[in-house]
Point group: C2
Chain length 216, copies 2
């Protein structure tokens, strides 16, 4: 038996984009799609799509392309998004509130079941039918409900402590909105979303090209 090869992270990050495009095509009533068409819809290339999918199996038919419902199902299966997830949100400040109120998560299988905060003024308030609870009660709840996904929406100064608590309680996937680098054990995944860093990376490209070139 040959050694199994693990799949590049960058491939995993593209799968949700493929799934999104396939969902739109399914809704539009299409039956099949070629790698070329899917590339056009996702901003990728045909070769990349074929390569990406080939990590997981053979989903297409030569001369025909991919059956949309079948491929979509396969990708959803690979990403484990056919399952429904309970998600805790830590931080009920403006950002946490916006996240808790955003309807988009629920319709994609992520149930924002609990919002936690530290601040007594926020505890007991309600966001989208969810009551903000004291963060002190969080570990017990996470363990009892076996929550594996969390969203951190606290200030940077509190983020590491929150992450430690989450990890200790059994959380394995963290979506981190705090502008902080989190140190977690290697079996826990962190995905950072920081709009300020994003904008700062974007403004680099606003300079006239010459200054963006390496000295020689």
């Amino acid at each position: 038996m040959e050694p199994d090869i693990s799949i590049p992270d960058v491939v995993i990050k593209r799968l949700p984009i493929y799934a999104r495009a396939l969902t739109a095509m399914l809704d539009a009533g299409s039956e099949t799609v070629s790698s070329k068409e899917l590339a056009l819809a996702t901003g990728s290339t045909a070769a990349q799509i074929r390569r990406d999918l080939s990590y997981f199996g053979e989903f297409g038919k030569q001369g025909k392309g991919y059956n949309i419902p079948h491929l979509l199902d396969a990708i959803r299966d690979i990403l484990n998004i056919n399952e429904r997830y309970r998600v805790v949100v830590v931080g009920a400040g403006p950002l946490g509130q916006a996240i808790a109120r955003y309807g988009g998560f629920s319709e994609h299988g992520f149930q924002l079941s609990w919002v936690y905060d530290h601040n007594p003024e926020r505890i007991g308030t309600t966001l989208n039918d969810v009551v903000v609870e004291d963060v002190a009660t969080m570990p017990e709840r996470i363990r009892a409900m076996q929550v594996r996904v969390a969203i951190i929406a606290v200030p940077a100064s509190a983020a590491q402590e929150v992450a430690d608590t989450l990890v200790e309680s059994g959380v394995k996937a963290i979506l981190n909105y705090a502008p902080a680098v989190l140190r977690v054990s290697s079996d826990v995944r962190v995905y950072d979303i920081d709009p300020v860093s994003a904008l700062q990376a974007l403004t680099y490209y606003l300079a006239p090209a010459p200054s963006r070139l390496r000295r020689t």
Copy 2:
């Protein structure tokens, strides 16, 4: 003269993280930092930091490390974040409101000066001292004020149309919160932020390892 070499995008995306860590160190009163220490603070490696910085010049001193104020200034200069940017936000729904109300942009030099929407019920309302205006008046304003940075916070179905309008008006950098792939001319940069895709990528890793390996 040798041909200049352009800098990898992935390097540019790391610079804001370095800047953030250096700012914290500066506030903490440190004078110098080694690539090793900076690596620890940013979740990178010493070699990578040295290589990344070497694209832009020689900022360190052997045996000593990097002078924090000097390096921070250099990075801010590379990213063009010493400048202040006017930013338009398109979409005054829940997401646009949260973005407009989030204070973090302004303190990093991004001035969310205008919020636009399509919906008459939202036009005229106020978010953080900013009045929501009719998107029909947006192109003129962008051109007049030479706005180059925009944030898209509209539903996916409207995102491409908004992007087209922005680009036509002269915007060169777009932070896209809509779950849609935007097609823009090659002199315009798009940075996508999609929390649902992020969560979907994260849940991949929740499966027991065996199913995450390539068939052989």
